[in-house]
């Protein structure tokens, strides 16, 4: 089947209408919606107490590092659930594959331990 550039005009039109609708409704709600902005209302909410300092302060990267390592090993455990359910069905091959997978992760675990990523102090 031969297609021309003209065949894609409806798709372009659809994209135009989709973005136009979103932008249009957002603009209209912001313009027509009633609002009352006061200085106190715009302040950040600190349970009614005067805000102290800035929220953008540097904090230790360790929180992030530990959290991301947790996610990694968490996912490993998630993979074990379907494997455990189909343990008999997958047989010895499945067992070997899982052990390989765990071994790879163990190497990673040894690596982060040696790097001292889990040392908090």
């Amino acid at each position: 089947m031969h297609s021309t550039t003209m065949d894609f005009v409806p798709i372009a039109l659809m994209f135009l209408v989709a973005t136009g609708f979103v932008a249009g409704t957002m603009a209209v709600t912001h313009l027509l919606g009633p609002n009352r902005k006061t200085k106190i209302k715009q302040e950040s909410f600190e349970c009614g107490i005067e805000p102290q300092g800035d929220a953008r302060i540097p904090f230790s990267i360790k929180y992030f590092l530990v959290a991301i390592l947790f996610v990694l090993f968490d996912v490993e455990v998630i993979f074990m659930y379907p494997w455990a359910v189909n343990f008999r069905g997958l047989g010895i091959l499945g067992f070997v594959e899982m052990m390989t997978f765990v071994a790879f992760f163990l190497i990673g675990f040894v690596y982060i331990l040696k790097k001292g990523a889990l040392k908090w102090e």
Binding site: P34, F45, G48
Partner: protein
């Protein structure tokens, strides 16, 4: 279990088989009335009574208010429950001012409404000295049934409030009285 809108308790309007038409005021009023998000400002024993009101026995969720808002940004109703000391006053006022319109205030118990037994130098003699109050609940502390009654009174106000009320001269005068913007 929410309140089912049947023909009996639907707002006045024009209806036929498969359709119903009413004014925007009434439709908005009905929607607002049945989904009030309260901000609990509990400072003493009235707060404990409020916890009972929210729990399974009394279940404020039946009236569409199970979603408490701990930020004033999304709250419709400020529930002041307990003794407000003069030092707490500005904090309460800040919370009230940070709520988005339309907003309502419910004063629960003797302390919030009038200072109660604490007729001393340190206690605010009623929160209506710093902000407009819509409904007062008497009692020390009030029973959960009274809190429910208070919320139903608020619902009546919400249902019947005109969409233009917050722009009226009356409302502006009320705000000016309390020095609110």
């Amino acid at each position: 279990m929410g309140v089912t809108t049947t023909v009996e308790n639907s707002p006045a309007g024009y209806g036929g088989p498969g359709f119903f038409a009413t004014s925007l005021d009434k439709a908005v009023g009905m929607a607002r009335k049945n989904s009030i998000w309260p901000l609990p400002f509990a400072t003493s024993c009235c707060g404990i009574e409020f916890m009972a009101t929210m729990a399974s026995h009394y279940d404020l969720g039946r009236f569409g208010s199970e979603r408490l808002s701990f930020s004033p940004r999304q709250a419709d109703l400020l529930m002041v429950m307990g003794t407000i000391s003069k030092k707490m006053g500005p904090i309460l006022r800040q919370v009230y001012e940070q709520m988005a319109e339309p907003k309502w205030v419910l004063s629960m118990g003797a302390c919030a409404s009038s200072g109660g037994i604490f007729d001393t130098y340190s206690v605010l003699q009623g929160i209506d000295r710093i902000m407009p109050v819509d409904v007062y609940i008497p009692g020390c502390p009030p029973r959960p049934e009274q809190v429910i009654d208070g919320l139903l009174q608020i619902q009546k106000l919400v249902e019947n409030e005109s969409l233009r009320r917050r722009n009226s001269q009356e409302y502006k005068a009320l705000q000016a009285k309390y020095g609110l913007e």
